[in-house]
């Protein structure tokens, strides 16, 4: 299994320094520690291992350092801010790995934006030197980009002209949707390998400020303090995040609250997540005291890890079955307590964590079916996971209940901004509003009548129908299913976040497998090779 645990004490590639209200996160990639053999991470280029540390750092900032009010993302190398994803790594990676890598890096950058939007910690990107490709995409994920104006350092997205692919971490979308760069200027920028320096980068709004080298660090410090003064981040006592340890079993993974059973021959993974058991903290102070072992933190971090294991280590498991277990009322009570104290920084962070994990689940390129049987805990955030699934199979029994929880009222939004209730009831938004407001408990026949399940199966049919449904699903083309599911899951309007994933899944992934990129004479294949690329000039 892939170990996603990282710790600042043993980072190879980042330095995290907390300086009162300001956190400095400096990229200083150690070229000798690539995630896999076969390439060197030169010029602060990154791979999955580098990004795991970034993801870890952002998580720790959220939970361990509530006193931080501004984040400065910079470089520990004088001659490079960041050269982007390592090209040799991309060249030598399989297509599924590339896609999963890009998706993970996207989720990390969105988490950084979410940290600004919902935790109140704004980020400044201090671009001290060349900033290319994924490096600039990281900058775009920050609230402000400050570039050194030394007539040399440039921001750039050279993917199209140099590699024949697209920036894979939201660069194109963020330029026009987030920064609102005029489309024709964006067109020029994205086809210009060397990018833009100082004044022009500022004039065209690719950066927010430029500074002479001698004033650069002082200017960043000043700005960081200004932003800290404006921050609404509520402070408190941080809690330490312990490593997530799964026991690898013969059939899958076993965590405290999450079990994953892999049936390789059936291309099937069953995730079972358990609700809270025993006493739970009643408020933010209680959570501060209890720390990372509280169910509301640990179970969701475990699920997050399990989803990543499935993505990276079980590519052929095309079908994910979701089972929920536990006491429904206990789960709803945890959510009510969190909502009651949601102005507490830690309650806020816990809800944001749940929201991110639910979105990670939304974005699984796997078919996902939720099973709501007599033992199921289809309540609150677990009901959200069920609604996140492609289908819900419910068992027709009066012991089967669904409870809409207080977080379904917009606290756990999908990538495109809708609640899962609104996404489900696009045609009848009043029903979504009613459910969110009244948080009803539904029993078997109502579940079906109210449109909360795909099938309500008679106990006599349950076993056979479920088996056939799963067998049928896994027999279909995995590519077609991925495309279909991604198209159907996100109804309604798009936003910047959802476009990032949508376009990654569609355009970038298509281009990645086209001969013009990865064929024998494609630009990515030929990058750095003695001979230049040769294209098939037909437009598609």
């Amino acid at each position: 299994m892939t170990d996603f645990n990282r710790n600042p004490d043993s980072y190879h590639h980042w330095e995290l320094q907390i300086d009162g209200e300001i956190a400095h996160l400096r990229m200083n990639v150690n070229s000798d520690f690539p995630f896999k053999e076969g390439y060197e991470l030169k010029l602060n280029s990154y791979d999955l291992g580098v990004d795991m540390e970034l993801a870890d750092a952002v998580s720790r900032l959220r939970f361990e350092h509530p006193s931080v009010k501004t984040l400065v993302v910079g470089s520990g190398q004088e001659r490079a801010f960041c050269a982007g994803a390592n090209i040799l790594m991309l060249k030598s990676s399989t297509h599924p790995f590339k896609v999963n890598f890009c998706k993970f890096t996207n989720e990390t950058r969105l988490s950084l934006e979410d940290y600004s939007r919902h935790s109140g910690v704004k980020s400044i990107c201090a671009v001290n030197a060349a900033c290319a490709g994924g490096g600039y995409e990281l900058a775009l994920a920050c609230d402000e980009i400050h570039l050194v104006n030394d007539n040399n350092s440039a921001v750039s997205l050279p993917e199209v002209p140099l590699l024949g692919v697209l920036p894979g971490t939201g660069g194109l979308t963020r330029i026009v949707d987030k920064r609102k760069v005029r489309r024709d200027l964006a067109d020029v920028f994205c086809t210009m390998a060397e990018g833009l320096r100082g004044k022009k980068a500022l004039k065209w709004n690719f950066v927010d400020a430029i500074w002479p080298k001698s004033k650069f660090h002082a200017a960043i410090d000043t700005r960081a303090k200004e932003l800290a003064a404006e921050s609404k981040r509520a402070t408190g006592t941080g809690i330490k995040l312990d490593a997530i340890n799964a026991e690898k079993t013969d059939t899958g993974y076993s965590y405290e609250h999450v079990q994953v059973v892999i049936e390789g021959d059936k291309r099937l993974a069953t995730i079972t997540i358990k609700g809270p058991d025993g006493d739970q903290p009643k408020d933010g102070a209680g959570y501060e005291a209890k720390g990372c072992n509280a169910w509301a933190i640990k179970a969701w971090r475990e699920l997050d890890d399990a989803l990543l294991q499935l993505r990276f280590d079980h590519e052929e498991c095309g079908m994910v079955v979701l089972q929920t277990r536990g006491n429904r009322d206990a789960l709803i009570q945890v959510e009510k307590d969190l909502v009651a104290d949601k102005d507490h920084w830690l309650c806020n962070e816990i809800i944001l964590l749940m929201a991110r994990v639910c979105r990670r689940f939304d974005l699984m390129a796997r078919s996902t079916y939720a099973m709501v049987d007599e033992e199921a805990c289809a309540a609150g955030a677990f009901l959200e996971l069920s609604m996140s699934s492609d289908r819900i199979y419910a068992y027709d029994s009066d012991k089967v209940e669904m409870i809409v929880g207080p977080l379904s009222n917009g606290s756990l939004p999908m990538s495109h901004g809708l609640t899962r209730l609104h996404n489900r009831f696009l045609a009848t938004p009043e029903q979504a509003d009613k459910f969110a407001k009244e948080t009803p408990t539904l029993i078997a026949p109502e579940i079906d009548e109210q449109g909360m399940c795909t099938y309500l199966l008679d106990p006599l049919d349950w076993e056979d129908d479920v088996r056939m449904a799963l067998e049928e699903r896994v027999s279909m083309s995995p590519d077609a299913l991925t495309g279909m599911e991604a198209s159907l899951r996100f109804g309604g309007a798009e936003n910047c976040d959802s476009k990032i994933f949508g376009r990654l899944s569609a355009w970038q992934n298509w281009i990645f497998i086209r001969p013009n990129a990865t064929g024998e004479t494609g630009a990515l294949s030929r990058y750095g090779a003695p001979e230049g690329a040769q294209f098939d000039w037909r437009r598609t």
Binding site: D32, N149, D150, N151, N152, P161, M192, A193, E194, P212, K213, S214, K215, Y527, G528, A529, P530, E531, G532
Partner: protein, 472 residues
């Protein structure tokens, strides 16, 4: 300034009179260049008459016109070497096609970068050397310095000509930026790190011209093969001038070595008479040779492979047909690469990726020749001690050996050995202070500072005691 004025001020063979776009661009740029020269060129010598060579044409003798001139009045000109109008691309993927007279769109950015990077070094070296005149060892050497400076200025013009003629508005912006960056300026430094340090003593200056300018020669030589014909012809002409700079460096270091040798034979300790011991000279040679090696870029370089494949940069003397395979495909190059296990392995890489290394090979052979000339001089005097060119792996901050420690013989060593030994291999603070203390200003006709021997002959066959610089 009218066309006619500009034409008279700027000797050229590029049809400046009829080139309205270039004329307009230069009308704006030339005053800025003069301002740059006044502010950051040689300090305090602009009012003196210097006996300088000015290029006024590309034909036989045309580029070697000598006369007294005040440096700000120097006629910086624009010249392309003459060549056949139907040159064919002679290496890379487009071999056999006609050379480009205009910049192909797909190579525009890369060519501009190459030209800007090359162009940036030209004014940079003038800035680095601006204080040297104040401690010149002789009028002869002072003149040499200024000759080098004005010609580096002309090389800047050559690159600016290409930018303004072939790269549109962006090219004009880049031409201005070449005057805006300054060597050692914290906020606006020169592009290459090595061009941001002052060269403020004459041993550094001669080593700089012997080694760094020689690197420049090889960079220019690779551009002189370019499929972009104006670039090829411009750099071919620059190479003729560059040869003089290398000569200045080679002879300068040689004369310092000779003087030290003479004193040693006389039984004198050079340090008691203001001359420079061979050990110190060796450390300076080690420093500058290795620093210049870093300017070639990585030994295993995808950039270099692309520049070759596209026909932008060729190998040294590629057009002389000295390489068997002008495509450089399907051949390997054996590169020595240090490993973390403490060994050096020979790794075969595709030849195209090794183009920087191939250029280094030619450069090292050239450096080996100049060092052996210095040693012949020592031998003639009866001195046994020799100057040695260090191994290419020693003291490298760029390329495959960066981050590893090698001794000057090219053996991989550990950190402890390096810490113990490096002061015997590279100039120490004490060395630098001592060399600085030797820098006395000598301006009497025909006289030389005691650390340097007179040259064999003067420029343009003038006597050694000629008044090369007239002070006013």
């Amino acid at each position: 300034m009218s066309n006619v004025d500009l034409e008279a001020k700027i000797p050229n063979n590029v049809g400046l009179r009829d080139n309205k776009r270039l004329t307009m661009a230069l009308e704006k740029w030339q005053p800025k260049f003069l301002e740059w020269w006044q502010n950051t060129g040689p300090s305090d010598f602009n009012q003196h008459d210097i006996y300088l060579r000015t290029a006024i044409g590309v034909g036989q003798g045309g580029w070697a016109h000598y006369d007294y001139v005040k440096m700000p009045d120097y006629r910086w000109g624009i010249f392309l070497a003459e060549g056949p109008s139907d040159r064919k691309i002679h290496f890379g993927d487009n071999i056999g096609e006609a050379c480009w007279q205009e910049v192909p769109g797909e190579h525009r950015n890369r060519l501009r970068r190459l030209i800007v990077t090359q162009g940036d070094t030209e004014p940079a070296s003038v800035e680095q050397q601006r204080m040297l005149g104040h401690c010149c060892p002789s009028l002869y050497d002072l003149r040499s310095l200024f000759q080098v400076n004005v010609e580096e200025g002309r090389h800047l013009w050559a690159m600016v000509y290409l930018l303004q003629t072939h790269f549109g508005a962006d090219g004009r912006d880049e031409a201005e930026a070449l005057l805006d960056r300054h060597s050692g300026d914290e906020d606006n430094p020169r592009i290459l790190e090595a061009f941001n340090y002052p060269v403020d003593n004459w041993l550094d200056f001669f080593c700089f011209t012997a080694f760094m300018d020689r690197d420049g020669k090889y960079q220019l030589a690779s551009l002189a093969e370019s499929s972009f014909d104006p670039l090829a012809r411009t750099t071919q002409f620059m190479l003729a001038e560059e040869a003089y700079h290398l000569q200045t460096g080679e002879n300068g270091v040689g004369r310092i070595i000779k003087r030290t040798g003479e004193l040693m034979i006389e039984g004198k300790d050079p340090t008691t008479v203001g001359a420079i011991p061979l050990d110190i000279i060796q450390r300076y040679v080690n420093f500058w040779f290795t620093g210049s090696m870093d300017l070639f870029g990585g030994e295993d370089s995808t950039n270099a492979a692309e520049a070759f494949a596209m026909g932008l940069k060729g190998r040294y003397r590629e057009s002389d047909g000295i390489y068997k395979d002008p495509l450089a495909l399907n051949i390997g190059y054996n590169l020595e690469v240090p490993t973390d296990e403490g060994t050096v392995e020979t790794k075969e890489i595709p030849l195209r990726r090794a183009m920087n290394s191939v250029l280094q090979d030619a450069y090292i052979a050239d450096c080996t020749r100049i060092v052996s000339r210095w040693n012949r001089e020592l031998k003639k005097l009866g001195v046994e001690q020799e100057i040695k060119l260090p191994n290419r792996k020693f003291n490298r901050n760029q390329g495959v050996c960066a981050g590893y420690k090698f001794n000057p013989e090219g053996e991989l060593i550990d950190e402890a050995t390096w810490t113990k030994m490096h002061t015997t291999w590279l100039p120490t603070t004490a060395d630098r202070e001592y060399v600085t203390s030797c820098m006395v200003k000598v301006t009497e006709l025909g006289k030389f500072a005691n650390y340097i021997a007179p040259p064999a002959k003067g420029p343009n066959d003038q006597p050694i005691d000629f008044e090369y610089v007239k002070f006013h």
